[in-house]
């Protein structure tokens, strides 16, 4: 199939391959990344969010679930309670701070999981070719033909909503993009001399893939992954919003938004702040992703084109 120079499936156009255009050295890429103001802002914001998540018990003024303020049901923001109270008279600021934990946990673990699956599937398919490639590509295509959120809803309903369900379900479904990108790159790498040399030296396939193929595709994968963390955080909050994510009373941004939706006309302030946190977090990760892409891929081929 020689078709579509611009992939119809919105696949980010990744650098043709590491190697043929002298990839930037580590030092230069780092300098370029740190020269990018937006990327620095993104990095600082993410560091702040990580601190917020790790030290939530110290930072949050109250307990997210147990501190119930009698008679304060749905009361709006004040100096002592900058985000006000929710419909169960809990301090919203504390709940939003604790929500950072879930967002980052799901965002990072699901990303790592999907990268692992995607790289393995893509590398194996691209390296071996033949019927292995056909089968794996068919699985990848099938996965990409599912509307993702619909699949997530069904799977979350099947497994029963919980934190681990959310992480597993997202991680197990968003890997298809990595598989496609890695497969395409590995197919072009496979014919290179250094792979042939390794094979001639008698290296096992597994070793060749791990030692020679995977490191060469990591650049693209890192860029893609950093751009995907944000959309995974949105997916997580969407699941919680529909009641299929992490269960209440655990504080999650999507869960608070779902409370906010239920009381949107009576207590409109509930829905405001968790949404702002989501936007800030997703923007920060996207800025980092853009910065990494510009630093690692000077040809500017990777386009961020939207959410999954």
């Amino acid at each position: 199939m020689t078709i579509a120079p611009i992939d119809p499936n919105l696949e980010p156009q990744l650098p043709a391959s590491a190697g043929d255009a002298a990839p930037p050295t580590k030092g230069r890429a780092l300098r370029r990344f740190f020269g990018n103001r937006m990327a620095i802002v993104g990095l600082l914001v993410v560091l702040a969010l990580v601190a917020l998540a790790v030290f939530a018990p110290q930072i949050a003024p109250y307990h997210p679930n147990d501190d119930i303020f009698r008679g304060m049901r749905g009361v709006g923001p004040s100096w002592e309670h900058p985000m006000g109270f929710d419909h169960l008279s809990r301090d919203l600021l504390s709940r939003v701070i604790y929500g950072t934990r879930i967002a980052l946990l799901v965002g990072l673990i699901s990303t790592v999981m999907s990268v692992l699956i995607g790289v393995v599937v893509g590398a194996v398919a691209g390296y071996f070719g033949g019927w292995i490639d056909e089968v794996l590509s068919l699985i990848t295509d099938t996965l990409m033909a599912f509307p993702l959120i619909a699949l997530l809803i069904v799977l979350a309903a099947v497994m029963g909503p919980s934190l681990s369900t959310t992480i597993i379900v997202i991680g197990a479904t968003v890997w298809a993009r990595y598989a496609r990108v890695v497969r395409a790159e590995v197919m072009s790498l496979r014919e290179r001399d250094f792979i042939t040399a390794a094979r001639a030296l008698g290296a096992f396939d597994g070793r060749i893939i791990w030692k020679h193929v995977v490191p060469n595709v990591l650049t693209s994968v890192i860029v893609l992954a950093s751009l995907q963390v944000g959309s995974i955080i949105i997916l997580e909050s969407a699941l919680s919003f529909l009641g299929l994510g992490v269960r209440p009373p655990t504080a999650t941004w999507g869960g608070i938004l779902s409370d906010g939706r239920a009381f949107i006309l009576r207590y409109p302030h509930i829905a405001i702040f968790p949404g702002i946190m989501i936007v800030i977090t997703v923007l920060a990760f996207n800025f980092i992703g853009d910065g990494l892409r510009d630093a690692l891929d000077p040809h500017q081929k990777t386009n961020r084109t939207g959410r999954t």
């Binding site: 078709i3 509307p147 619909a150 409109p268 949404g275 936007v279």
Partner: protein
Amino acid sequence: MSSYLTFRILKGLFVVVLISVLTFIIMRLMPGDPVYMLLGEGQIPITDAQIEAIRAKWGLDRPLPEQYFLWAGNLLRGDFGESLIRAGVPVRKMIFEAIPITALLNFYALAVAIVVAIPFGIAAAVRRNSWIDYASNVVSSLGIATPNFWLALMLIVLFALYVPRWFGDLPLIGRIPPFGLRSWQGWILPVIVIATEEMAVLMRITRGAVLELLPQDFVRTARSKGLAERRVLYRHVVSNAMLPVVTVIGFRIAFILSGTIIVENVFALPGIGRLFVDSVLRLDYQVVQSLVVVFAVLVVVINLLTDLVYALVDPRIRIS
């Protein structure tokens, strides 16, 4: 060409069959039993005999492979079966009642998004690093980072709660309801929400596509043979830049369900997305399975069409 087409169609069919099998299996793995869902657990005393009778009526007592082939066979004949939960209502009827709402919603939203995004995307690329470039960048970055359900909630708070409180009825528009489609004003907020997301993506794609074309040789040639800048832009750059833009639009149409599931649930719109979530939560196997297959077919067909359109429009691509 024709062998390529056959290959692609066969592959597409295979993907659809695989998806239908997977959905069938996944739905049976769901905890709970649709029979109890229908009868309401523990509310009415029911005998085992009654339960068995309902099972037999729905064919749930037969072995799973048989159930699958029965369902798939009917589907091929265009018979979607009956809803398990809304007993007796044909699934086809439920889907056909919901489709116009989802389709119209997305049609309006996409129209708004195209009208706004393409001119701004072109302007941002042509006047790179101007205020219009920065503004469109901010808008599209924010649009991509904002969850559509939160935007929906904020618009409800603003336009259905505070605007009437502060300003009373708006001229021409009147009052915007927070939920539902009882009046035409009900369409306004959902269309804005979906359009924002589409706009953010389209603007970025348009800008990128135009930027990639501007430094190319044929553009320089067009300029150097004395064509007016405006003509170069429209005839040579924009017309070529539309190719990736059209692809993205096709892709968004194929994945219409992803975009509307949550928005329809926030605004309580009786479209496909709402039907889907309700059916999953109520274990309505028939409806969920049919919807998934319908959308899988849509995705496969649109993917195939985009590839073909590409080959037709761009003579450099040869299909083999």
